[in-house]
Subunit: 195 residues, 2 copies
DNA sequence: TGATTTGATTGACTTAAGTTAAGAAAGGGG
DNA sequence: CCCCTTTCTTAACTTAAGTCAATCAAATCA
């Protein structure tokens, strides 16, 4: 457990140095949980305000549209899945499942509220993190819009090469906005071209 | 000016009720600025930490890729453009320009810091707003990924019908992830189909 | 191990997007 | 009002993605 706490502290300190008292507070209230490969953390229709910070493993968001899974996001080590429905109070439109056995830090607004009251700097931290996530998300979206499927794939190859190993190809396909068949053909096309 | 302040207060109060002292503080430090149609608020390569809240008008983000403008976002009344480069300190990769004469509230981290120190609740507000923006952005991205160009266009027709009037079609095209020619053909296709 | 499920590939065909180029329509400024 | 710029449309052609179906490979499990 010591190790996973240090992992978390290292991550946080990239954004804000932590005092001892604050570390203790986190140690006392942080909830770490293990999930198994294939486990569902959230189903469509459920109400959940939980957020997840990935210590180890990989989780995935997907929609089911006309019976088809459409994967929209993967979260791996040091990445945060923040809930979409916490503000509007609507039921979830998507699923969250575990791609691998994973260790996650789980949070929710009630826990955060308590922490913010005790340590206002945590709210500062969360604001900064949230702004950073927003910036990252906007950049990814812009990148997606301005690229062809092939450019997206090549880009993924460079920016997150691990994903190609960790995740089945049919999930990557919808993540890239195409069908599994198209991705398969694209790969053979690229292989032929680079030979 | 009274009117534009009230507009801002109304927006904020959707998220958090404001006390009189807080309203006064905003009144004293808020910077409103008018921009003309076509004016550039940010150029590629510039360093800027300014954020913009649109009181009236429309602004647009676009990249220039191989000489082509690729529009990635429009911001209209009550929407916020938060800077992407404030954290990483990198030069901007995109442009921001005014689609129409616009009235904007301008902010930057220095101003925010002063406000946060005087009124910690502002930081709370900014955290909440930022989380809401993140959720909205993630939902838009997921929607984009899981839709065909045609579905995106039809969806835009329903969710932001005003944009089609305010913005030239070639800018909408890249916003939808397609070329102007494709959008034009798509429109005739749809018109023929619905007749 | 053998059987079953799951994931990846391939092929044939359809559809729509990208590209290039030309011309028409609309809008703004003098 | 006309000219010029900007925006939109149309056409012909190329390319690649979607779809459906069959097959192949690999992982899982009884």
């Amino acid at each position: 457990m010591k190790e996973t706490e240090n992992y978390l502290f290292d991550f946080i300190s990239r954004y804000m140095p932590l005092g001892e008292a604050e570390k203790i507070a986190i140690r006392e209230s942080a909830v770490f949980r293990n999930y198994q490969k294939g486990e569902l953390l959230l189903k469509q229709g459920q109400h959940s305000k939980d957020g997840y910070f990935v210590i180890k493993g990989c989780i995935r968001c997907y929609y089911v549209i006309e019976g088809e899974e459409k994967t929209t996001a993967f979260y791996t080590e040091s990445e945060t899945l923040s809930p979409l429905c916490s503000i509007n109070q609507l039921p979830s439109e998507y699923y969250v499942s575990c791609v691998e056995d994973s260790l996650l830090l789980v949070s929710n607004p009630q826990m955060e509220k308590i922490m913010f009251e005790k340590f206002p700097r945590f709210e500062s931290l969360c604001r900064i993190l949230s702004e950073a996530l927003l910036a990252k998300n906007q950049t990814s979206f812009a990148n997606f819009k301005t690229s062809t499927p092939e450019q997206r794939y090549v880009n993924l190859l460079h920016t997150r090469p691990d994903l190609l190993q960790r995740v089945p190809q049919y999930q990557l396909a919808s993540y890239l906005g195409i069908t599994p068949e198209s991705l398969s053909r694209m790969r053979t096309r690229l292989a032929r071209r680079n030979k």
